[in-house]
C-alpha cells in the first residue's frame, strides 16, 4: 500500500474519553504510515491475509456445499457407508474435523509466521516513543 500523505488535520472528535485510542496526533499518525509502508509490515500483512482470506473462502464454500448437498442430493447423502452410518453422517462429522483442523492449522501458522513479525514491529514502535 502507498505511503499516506501526512495531514495536520486532527480527528473529528478529539475530546472523547477514547481520544487517545482513536485519534493519534499527526506526528504519531505519520509514524503509523511509515510503519505501514515498511517492507516488514508488508510481509506481516501478506502472511496474515494470504492465509486467512483463501482459507475463509474455502471453509465457507465447503460448509455451503454441505448445506446444498443436504438440500438437493438426498440419495447421495443417504447412501450407506458402514452399518447405519451414511454419507450425510460422515460429511457432518467431517465438518467438525475440518473445523478443528483449520483452527489448529491457523494457530500454528500464526505462532510461526505472524507473532514474531508482529512482536518485532511492536517493539520497534514502542522504542520510538
Amino acid at each position: 500500500m502507498d505511503t499516506a500523505p501526512v495531514t495536520t488535520e486532527g480527528p473529528d472528535e478529539p475530546d472523547g474519553p477514547d481520544a487517545t485510542a482513536t485519534a493519534a496526533p499527526a506526528g504519531v499518525a505519520n509514524r503509523f504510515s511509515e510503519v505501514q509502508s515498511s517492507a516488514e509490515f508488508g510481509e506481516l500483512r501478506r502472511a496474515q491475509r494470504s492465509f486467512a482470506f483463501p482459507l475463509t473462502l474455502a471453509f465457507v464454500s465447503w460448509y455451503l456445499l454441505y448445506v446444498l448437498l443436504s438440500n438437493y442430493a438426498g440419495d447421495f447423502m443417504g447412501s450407506t457407508v458402514l452399518g447405519n452410518i451414511n454419507v450425510a453422517f460422515v460429511l457432518g462429522l467431517a465438518q467438525f474435523l475440518t473445523t478443528f483442523l483449520i483452527a489448529w492449522w491457523y494457530s500454528r501458522h500464526a505462532a510461526a509466521k505472524l507473532d514474531p513479525k508482529a512482536e518485532a514491529l511492536r517493539a520497534r514502535l514502542e522504542a520510538g516513543e
Binding site: 460448509y63 438440500n71 453422517f89 467438525f96 473445523t99 483449520i102
Partner: protein, 548 residues
C-alpha cells in the same frame, strides 16, 4: 422452520409428572448454584474498581479461562435442550444445527478476534468507530448491539420463565410472573455487582457444569448401546417409526423449494451471525493480548465442538431410548428430550437414579439460562453507557464513575425491560426471536466489522447504511414472515401479512448489509485522513501496538 426452531430456542422441559415428584431436589441444586455464583459475584465485585474491571474483567483472564467463558456464553439452553430435542424428533435435520453453530467460530478466529482485541477497548462499537466519525457510527453500532441483545435476552427470559414454571409445577400466571421477576433480579445482581469479572466466572462455572452433565449422559447412553454408534443410530431410526429417512437430510426441511431455501437462509445466518454477536465479541477484551484472544477462541472451538458432538448422543439417544412418542407427549417440540433421557439412563421414571439425574440436568439447564442472560445484559448495558451515553450524549465529557453508574443503571433498566416484555409477551415464539438475533447480527454487524478492519475506502456513510439497512431489513422481513402471521404456529395466528415466504431473513438481509456498506462508502467522499487513519488501524490491529 417453526417446528425445529421452537424446539431449538424455547427450552421448555415439560417433564411435568416426573419432575413434580422431585421438585425439592431441583430447587436445592439450583439454589446451591445461585448461592455459589452470587458469592463469586460479590467477591468479583470487591475487585472491580475501574472501567476496565467492570467492562473487561481487568483484562486479567487467561486464554483457557476465557475459552470456557465464551463456551458458557454460547452454549445456551437452545443448544442443550433444543438441539437434543430437534435431533430426537427430526433426526439428521436437527444435527445440521450443531454444525452451523460450530463452523461459525472459524470466521471469528480467522478474521475478527485478534484485530478486534487489538483495536477495541470495551464494546463492539469501539472497533467500528475507530477510523470513522465517532458519534454517528457509535450511535448505530450501539443501537444494533442493544437490539440484538434484547431480542436474544427476551428469548432466554421467555424460556427461563416457562422452564421454571413448568418444572416447579407452578403453571399459574401469577407464579410465572413472580419467577420471571426473580430470574431477572438474580441476573441484574450478577451484572451490577460483579461486572465482567463476576459474569465471566459465572460463565466458567456454568460451562463446566454443562459439559460434565452432557458428558455423563453421553457415557451412559453409549454404555447402553455397547459403545457402538451404528447400533445407536439403528435403534433411533427404528424407534422413530421413520426408518432410514430419520438418518437422512430432509425430514424437516426437505418438503418443498421454499423450505429448502429457508434452510439455506438459516444456514447462512448461523455461520455468519456468531462473529457479529456483541456479547460474544466483548469477551475478547477480557484477555490481555491478541494471542490470548486467539487461544481463547481455540479453546472455545474445542469445548463447543466436543459439546455439539455429544448432542448426537443426546438426541439420537433420546430417540432410541425414550422414543419420540413419549417425547412429544411431554413436549410437542421436543425440548424435554434431554431431561427425559437423563431420567431414562439414570434408571427410569420412579427410580432414585432417574430422579437424581433428572434434577441434575434440569438444574444445569437453569444455570445455563441464567448465565447467558447475564452475559447479554452486560453487553447491552456496557454499550449503552460507553457508546451512547459517554460518547454520544455526553460527548466524552463524563467521568469514569458516572459512566459506570450509567452502565449499572442501564443493566437494571434492561433487566426490567426484559422482565416486562417477557411477562406481556410470554406467548411469543422464542424461536423467532433468537433466529432474528443471529440474522440481525450477521446483517447489521458483520459487514461493518469486516469492512472497517480490511477495507481502506470504507466510509461513515457505508457503515450507517450497512448497520441501519441490515437492521431494518432483517427485522422487517421477520415481521412479514410466516413466523409472525399467516398460520396457526405464528405469533399472530389470526392475522395474515406473511408476504415474505422464508422464516429466516438471512438470505436477503445479509447480502443487502454487505452491499449497502460497499455502496454507501463508494457514493460518499472518502473520510478525511482516510489513509493515515487506516494506517493506524492496520498497524495497531496487526501488531497490537498501543492496545488497551
Amino acid at each position: 422452520m417453526a417446528g425445529i426452531s421452537s424446539a431449538l430456542h424455547t427450552g421448555i422441559p415439560l417433564a411435568a409428572g416426573a419432575a413434580s415428584e422431585h421438585r425439592t431436589l431441583i430447587i436445592t441444586l439450583f439454589s446451591v448454584f445461585v448461592a455459589a455464583t452470587l458469592a463469586i459475584t460479590v467477591w468479583a465485585g470487591r475487585q472491580t474498581k475501574d472501567a476496565t474491571d467492570f467492562y473487561a474483567g481487568g483484562r486479567s483472564f487467561t486464554g483457557f479461562q476465557n475459552g470456557l467463558a465464551i463456551s458458557g456464553d454460547y452454549m445456551s439452553a437452545a443448544s442443550f435442550l433444543g438441539i437434543a430435542g430437534a435431533i430426537a424428533l427430526y433426526g439428521y435435520d436437527g444435527f445440521l444445527y450443531s454444525i452451523g453453530f460450530l463452523v461459525a467460530w472459524l470466521v471469528a478466529l480467522l478474521l475478527v478476534a485478534e484485530p478486534l482485541r487489538n483495536s477495541g477497548r470495551f464494546t463492539m462499537a469501539d472497533a467500528l468507530a475507530y477510523r470513522l466519525k465517532q458519534r454517528p457510527v457509535r450511535t448505530a453500532a450501539g443501537t444494533s448491539t442493544i437490539v440484538v441483545s434484547i431480542f436474544y435476552l427476551l428469548a432466554q427470559m421467555i424460556g427461563a420463565g416457562a422452564l421454571v414454571a413448568l418444572l416447579l409445577g407452578a403453571s399459574g400466571e401469577g407464579s410465572r410472573r413472580w419467577i420471571i421477576g426473580l430470574v431477572g433480579l438474580v441476573m441484574v445482581l450478577y451484572v451490577t455487582i460483579g461486572g465482567m469479572k463476576g459474569t465471566t466466572w459465572v460463565q466458567i462455572v456454568k460451562a463446566v457444569l454443562l459439559i460434565l452433565g452432557t458428558l455423563l449422559i453421553t457415557v451412559l447412553v453409549l454404555n447402553k448401546v455397547g459403545w457402538n454408534v451404528s447400533t445407536l443410530l439403528g435403534r433411533a431410526a427404528e424407534e422413530s417409526g421413520k426408518g432410514k429417512a430419520f438418518l437422512e437430510p430432509g425430514l424437516l426441511y426437505g418438503k418443498d423449494g421454499t423450505t429448502k431455501l429457508n434452510f439455506i437462509s438459516l444456514g447462512l445466518a448461523l455461520v455468519l451471525g456468531t462473529a457479529g454477536l456483541p456479547h460474544i465479541l466483548i469477551r475478547f477484551y477480557t484477555v490481555p493480548t491478541a494471542k490470548a484472544a486467539r487461544k481463547s477462541v481455540n479453546w472455545a472451538i474445542g469445548i463447543i465442538g466436543a459439546f455439539y458432538l455429544m448432542t448426537i448422543a443426546l438426541g439420537f439417544g433420546a430417540a432410541a431410548l425414550v422414543g419420540s412418542k413419549s417425547i412429544t407427549a411431554s413436549d410437542p417440540s421436543g425440548n424435554t428430550a434431554a431431561p427425559l433421557l437423563a431420567q431414562e439412563v439414570g434408571g427410569g421414571a420412579g427410580s432414585t437414579g432417574g430422579a437424581v439425574l433428572l434434577a441434575v440436568i434440569s438444574a444445569v439447564a437453569f444455570a445455563t439460562i441464567l448465565a447467558v442472560v447475564a452475559g447479554l445484559t452486560l453487553a447491552s448495558s456496557a454499550s449503552f453507557a460507553h457508546d451512547l451515553w459517554a460518547n454520544v450524549i455526553r460527548k466524552g465529557k463524563t467521568s469514569e464513575k458516572e459512566e459506570l453508574l450509567t452502565a449499572k443503571c442501564a443493566a437494571v433498566v434492561i433487566g426490567a425491560v426484559a422482565i416486562a416484555l417477557s411477562i406481556f409477551a410470554h406467548r411469543l415464539n422464542a424461536a423467532a426471536v433468537v433466529a432474528l438475533a443471529f440474522a440481525v447480527a450477521a446483517s447489521a454487524n458483520l459487514p461493518t466489522i469486516l469492512y472497517s478492519l480490511f477495507w481502506k475506502r470504507f466510509a461513515t456513510q457505508g457503515a450507517l447504511w450497512s448497520i441501519y439497512g441490515g437492521l431494518i431489513s432483517s427485522v422487517g422481513l421477520v415481521i412479514f414472515s410466516p413466523v409472525v402471521s399467516g398460520n396457526e404456529k405464528a405469533l399472530f395466528p389470526g392475522m395474515s401479512f406473511d408476504y415474505f415466504p422464508l422464516g429466516n431473513p438471512g438470505l436477503v438481509s445479509i447480502p443487502l448489509g454487505f452491499l449497502l456498506g460497499w455502496l454507501g462508502s463508494l457514493l460518499s467522499e472518502p473520510e478525511p485522513d482516510a489513509d493515515a487513519k487506516y494506517a493506524e488501524l492496520e498497524v495497531r490491529s496487526l501488531t497490537g501496538h498501543g492496545a488497551h
